[in-house]
Amino acid sequence: MKKLRMLSLPYISWVCMFTVVPLLIVIFFAITTPSGKFTILNISNVGRYFSVIVKSILLASIATFISLIIAYPFSYIISRIGGRTGKIAMMIVMLPMWMNFLLRTYAWMTILEKNGLLNKLLVYLNFSPVNIINTKIAVVIGMIYNYLPFMVLPLVSVMKKIEPSVIEAAQDLGSSGFSIFTKIIIPLTMPGVVSGVTMVFVPAVSTFIISRMLGGGGNLLIGDLIDMQFLGNSYNPHLGAAISLVLMVLILLCMSVMNQFECEDMEGKLV
């Protein structure tokens, strides 16, 4: 036990240096004025950006939900294939992750542009072109494309753990198709759903590159707001820190709600 504690020392100091200390600095900035006096003005000023916060949460939620809908059946198929084919399918899912994030998002710009690939294709097929770039839809598409693998990974890993014999047992007891899905597969994959949703929602709600590149100027998200306070023309690190803090609290709230789902599930298991 003592040895274990010794071994964990480097990690603990790492966490202190690069997580706890920066966090304290953020909190400090959030509650002080440029001259170093205590204030809650920064935090109360965040309220002005209420609509941006709501929009961020809304877009991230939509993207997360659609990712889940796409990833769930896909992950199930991958998890049941197994062997070589399964590995290759998994590779294909992960492949875009090897490319630079900016590059991937640029690629979507060229696809969705007014004279981009999508519209060229639509015109070629005699459909009228659509206006997607610089809209909320483009932002959501970008979020889904970039974060989908984070949904697939945890789902595949929980689904792989479902023993085929458990499904056979359900069949043996009279379940078929749909009831196996609702009574066995969904409850058993809940932990994967929770971590997948968290892993997609958290980066999506705080993104600024996607919204800037695909959303044009009109779709500012919280991430953009924070970015502007540090690097943009409205330089105000104190407000930036306050917004970050609020965002962090919001994410923690969302996560604890999600974990509540998982806990309830666990309770059914343990009590």
């Binding site: 014999s165 056979e168 359900a170 069949q171 043996d172 007891l173 058993l188 059914g268 298991k269 009590v271």
Partner: protein, 348 residues
């Protein structure tokens, strides 16, 4: 006294990757009987059971349930329930919910479910465990949940795949008796898979001995033990001494350089045969007596009897006796004509 045939396997064959796993299995299972599939690991017991349960399709052959062809019926439509080799309990449900699963699917009322599950918990001695999570149960308790979960549906036939495999000897014995009682009490047909010959002999009405995907013998435990049809069965059911012999004529066999009178007949003149002799049927005498002579090589105490290895003219006999002999001592060996079992050589 014979009931009707509830399950009939007709020329069932199964293949995996072009390899023949089951070779023409023909078997009639009578209603309310306790039938055991017995055989070494990999001989196809689980595959046979999975075909009956509907989880595997035979490559050829037919399966009849009450003389209805059910070969193509999916598992959820069969009046058969399974206790799986590794239990396969639902990890997200507690004991009560696991057992209630089948009844809920079949839309029983809440009251009925509660009554039936309570009766099952009583039967398998798990009262008070309703709310327990599966992973907080011991192996034996999980086992009993698996049995209760299957039994609560009142299947006509219950399939059990080595259900006691994971238990220690004492619990195993207890559960054997318990299972047998349950089977008789509820009058359900049991098809039971095991590779433990003692378990098969003590529990079953009918034992089906399998090897390499083929049925070697079907019979009552007493038949199987006393009248094995070939050397494989003889060896698998209890240890046996299997010696190459020559059948000179009816009632006369020669092995280890001596002629012995026996009770078997009907072999070709000078046919090569397997001579099978049970360890407890080998008589050890004072040196100089008996037709064979040997040297005691080793002796182990086995609880009720001693197990000795006795070397005689290059053959090492396995002998069970309550009277120990000293290692290295010279002994006489003889066998009663009744205890010499002659079997056709197996064609492989």
């Amino acid at each position: 006294m014979k009931n009707n045939v509830i399950l009939r396997l007709f020329d069932i064959c199964a293949e995996f990757d072009d390899e023949l796993i089951l070779n023409k299995i023909n078997l009639r299972i009578y209603d309310k009987s306790f039938v055991t599939l017995l055989g070494p690991s990999g001989c196809g017991k689980t595959t046979t059971l999975r075909i009956i349960g509907g989880f595997e399709k035979p490559t050829s052959g037919k399966l009849f349930f009450n003389s209805l062809d059910i070969t193509d019926l999916p598992p959820y439509k069969r009046k058969v329930n399974t206790v799986f080799q590794k239990y396969a309990l639902f990890p997200h449900l507690n004991v009560f919910e696991n057992i209630a699963f089948g009844l809920k699917i079949r839309k029983f009322s809440k009251k009925e479910i509660e009554r039936n599950v309570a009766a099952m918990l009583e039967l398998v001695n798990l009262k008070g465990f309703e709310k327990r999570g599966i992973e907080r149960l011991s192996g034996g308790q999980q086992q009993r949940v698996a049995i209760a979960r299957a039994l609560v549906n009142r299947p006509k036939v219950l399939l059990l795949d080595e259900p006691l495999g994971a238990l220690d000897l004492k619990l195993r014995k207890e559960m054997q008796t318990e299972l047998k009682n349950i089977q008789q009490q509820l009058e359900i047909t049991f098809v039971y898979v095991t590779h433990d010959q003692e378990e098969a002999l003590t529990m079953s009405d009918v034992v089906v001995v399998m090897n390499n995907g083929q049925i070697q013998q079907i019979g009552s435990p007493i038949d199987i033990y006393n009248e094995p049809q070939n050397a494989f069965v003889a060896d698998f059911i209890g240890e046996s001494n299997i010696i190459n012999g020559i059948m000179y004529k009816d009632y006369m066999v020669g092995f280890l350089g001596h002629d012995f009178i026996c009770v078997d007949k009907g072999f070709a003149c000078n046919e090569e045969v397997d001579v099978v002799i049970r360890p407890e049927d080998v008589k050890l005498l004072e040196a100089g007596n008996g037709r064979l002579e040997g040297v005691v090589e080793s002796i182990i105490f086995k609880g009720v009897h001693y197990e000795m290895k006795v070397d005689s003219a290059g053959y090492s006999w396995t002998v069970h006796s309550t009277l120990p002999k000293n290692v290295g001592s010279l002994v006489g060996i003889d066998i009663d004509p009744n205890d010499i079992h002659i079997m056709k050589k197996m064609e492989i």
